[in-house]
């Protein structure tokens, strides 16, 4: 028996994430995820920040698509303080979050391809993500950590030319999706390596508390945007792709990858609808400079690219939160690993972990 460490660096997860593996020849006897390499104490920092001052930290919870963290926090605080968000702001939030989702899924697919040695697609994914980053730059002035959704609305109104540029991007990405589908699933590389790899049945997925694309890959149609709509998602028409196990078992790694690729096209569909007729009005409801939320507690969830991101805030009536807690989707994935890695091949470990799209920062916060 030997102990092999997968990580902390590498492309199997985003950020430092280590898995300690006890091997038996080429087979894995057991695998233990090791968390805390990126524990930055974000929840503790919240206790000494003002309500608005904490927004930049919510970027860093899930930095691949930081606008989802902002939005979850903003929704929770708005719920707590009873702030009405203007229609226009909600619509802009939808556009921003779906663009963030496209970017995040592209990175997830690219990292998966990189783990399997498909450098070409990795480079393609980075190229496409660059375009999404450009749009964010137009919108918020930052590429990655943009603190865009603020309490009561969004930070800035959409800029001139943003709508046209976004349409251009959507057109571009929609022509690219069939090509990528061919590139990934047409060849043998993904099919042979991933089909039937680490299948998660739907009872197991529920038991482990999976959410998001990982859960939908097991065939369950759960999506916060449908089940508990926020920001006017109920008025938008979109599908929720689920894994059907076309080639292999339902809920295997290939299904998880396939669901992500389909979600990109769903997201681009949502953005297209949202761009049509953005309501007029203000993009931010007036919030006093020294904002104090009333005493109480509130919770809000959003559908982040990795699953349901929930935020709980408690206030004691002061200028800042008393407690902020994030329930991150990647964390519940970890409970699967000891079981799912047992008996796998050592060379498959990185592929299995990568197919769940774990973000270390979300796990550790």
């Amino acid at each position: 028996m030997a102990i092999v460490s997968v990580g902390p660096l590498g492309n199997h997860a985003i950020g430092p994430f280590r898995i300690r593996i006890e091997t038996d020849g080429e087979n894995v006897r057991s695998g233990h995820p090791e968390v805390g390499l990126l524990h930055r104490g974000i929840e503790k920092i919240a206790e000494r920040m003002t309500w608005a001052g904490f927004v930049p930290y919510t970027d860093r919870v899930d930095y691949v698509s930081s606008v989802h963290g902002n939005l979850a926090y903003a929704l929770a605080v708005e719920r707590l303080a009873g702030i009405e968000v203007p229609e226009r702001a909600s619509r802009i939030r939808v556009i921003a979050t779906e663009l963030g989702r496209i970017g995040s899924h592209l990175l997830a697919l690219g990292a998966m391809a990189d783990v399997l040695g498909h450098r070409t697609f990795f480079m393609f994914a980075l190229r496409e993500r660059e375009r999404a980053n450009n749009l964010f730059e137009m919108l918020a002035g930052a590429r990655l950590t943009h603190s865009y959704a603020r309490i009561g609305g969004v930070a800035f109104d959409i800029t001139e030319g943003f709508v046209e540029k976004t349409r251009e991007f959507l057109e571009y990405i929609e022509t690219k999706i069939p090509e990528y589908s061919d590139l990934l699933f047409g060849g043998d590389l993904f099919r042979e390596r991933l089909s039937g790899l680490a299948p998660v049945s739907s009872p197991l997925a529920i038991q482990a508390g999976l959410t998001g694309p990982n859960l939908r890959a097991s065939g369950l149609k759960r999506d916060v945007r449908k089940d508990d709509p926020y920001c006017g998602y109920e008025r938008l028409d979109f599908g929720v792709p689920v894994g059907a196990g076309e080639s292999g078992t339902q809920g295997d790694a290939l299904d998880r990858v396939r669901v992500r690729l389909r979600e990109i096209s769903e997201s681009s569909d949502i953005v297209r609808q949202a761009l049509k007729g953005i309501p007029e009005g203000s993009f931010q409801s007036p919030i006093p400079r020294l904002f104090r939320a009333p005493e109480g507690e509130a919770c809000a969830s959003v559908e982040s690219p990795r699953g349901t991101l929930s935020v709980y805030v408690r206030s004691s009536g002061g200028r800042g939160p008393r407690r902020v807690r994030f329930r991150a989707p990647s964390f519940s994935v970890l409970s699967l690993f000891p079981g799912i890695l047992t008996g796998a091949q050592l060379s498959d470990v990185a592929a299995i972990v990568s197919s769940f799209d774990v973000c270390a920062s979300e796990v550790d916060r």
Binding site: L9, I14, G15, L37, L38, R40, R60, Y63, L126
Partner: protein, 182 residues
């Protein structure tokens, strides 16, 4: 221009075109600065931007730099992200495993000085990579733009060119022992 910068010269008509004269340390640093393989210390948010630097748009490979995941094959360590107390010993160890000559580029506020997660705010992160390893170049930003990282790389290349490369570099040795992580 390149020849001038490295003080390389040619003897007109005396020797074929491809015969170039230079000083040994200029030649060595010319070779070094044009083939920097960097170890991707993808520690947090800045790591995503570091990925983008190697992507098609910014294309760090045109400067002869390639990402590298093994410290044994790396010349430069790009520390991209927050260094937590749990990660700090690993960072030290990876730095120690890199062969000489080795350089460190600190990317982003977190590894420059702690940034959003400096000791004033966070109880679990080191306020800067320079507290635990020697740093050659600091790139500010949270996260820095990829262009800024490229600029940092160019600054590092200048620094390499200005060193006397033929003189054997000393190992940093016990550097930082007294500045160990508290």
């Amino acid at each position: 221009m390149t020849r001038k910068r490295y003080e390389m010269g040619i003897l007109e008509n005396a020797l074929p075109e491809y015969a170039v004269f230079s000083r040994l340390d200029r030649l060595i640093s010319w070779a070094r600065e044009n083939s920097i393989a960097y170890l991707t210390m993808d520690l947090a948010c800045c790591g995503v931007e570091m990925l983008q630097v190697s992507g098609g748009r910014f294309d760090i490979e045109r400067f002869g730099s390639v990402p590298q995941v093994s410290p044994r094959h790396a010349d430069l360590m790009i520390v991209a992200g927050t260094i937590t107390y749990k990660m700090a010993p690993l960072l030290r160890r990876l730095y120690g495993e890199m062969p000489l000559p080795k350089y460190v580029l600190s990317m982003g506020s977190c590894s420059n000085c702690g940034g959003l997660f400096s000791w004033e705010y966070s109880y679990s992160s080191v306020s800067g990579a320079d507290k635990i390893i020697p740093v050659d170049v600091f790139v500010p930003g949270c996260p820095p733009r990829p262009e800024a990282v490229l600029h940092g790389l160019l600054a590092l290349r200048k620094r390499i060119a200005s060193r006397h490369a033929a003189v054997r570099e000393e190992a940093p040795g016990e550097w930082g022992k007294e500045r160990a992580v508290k």
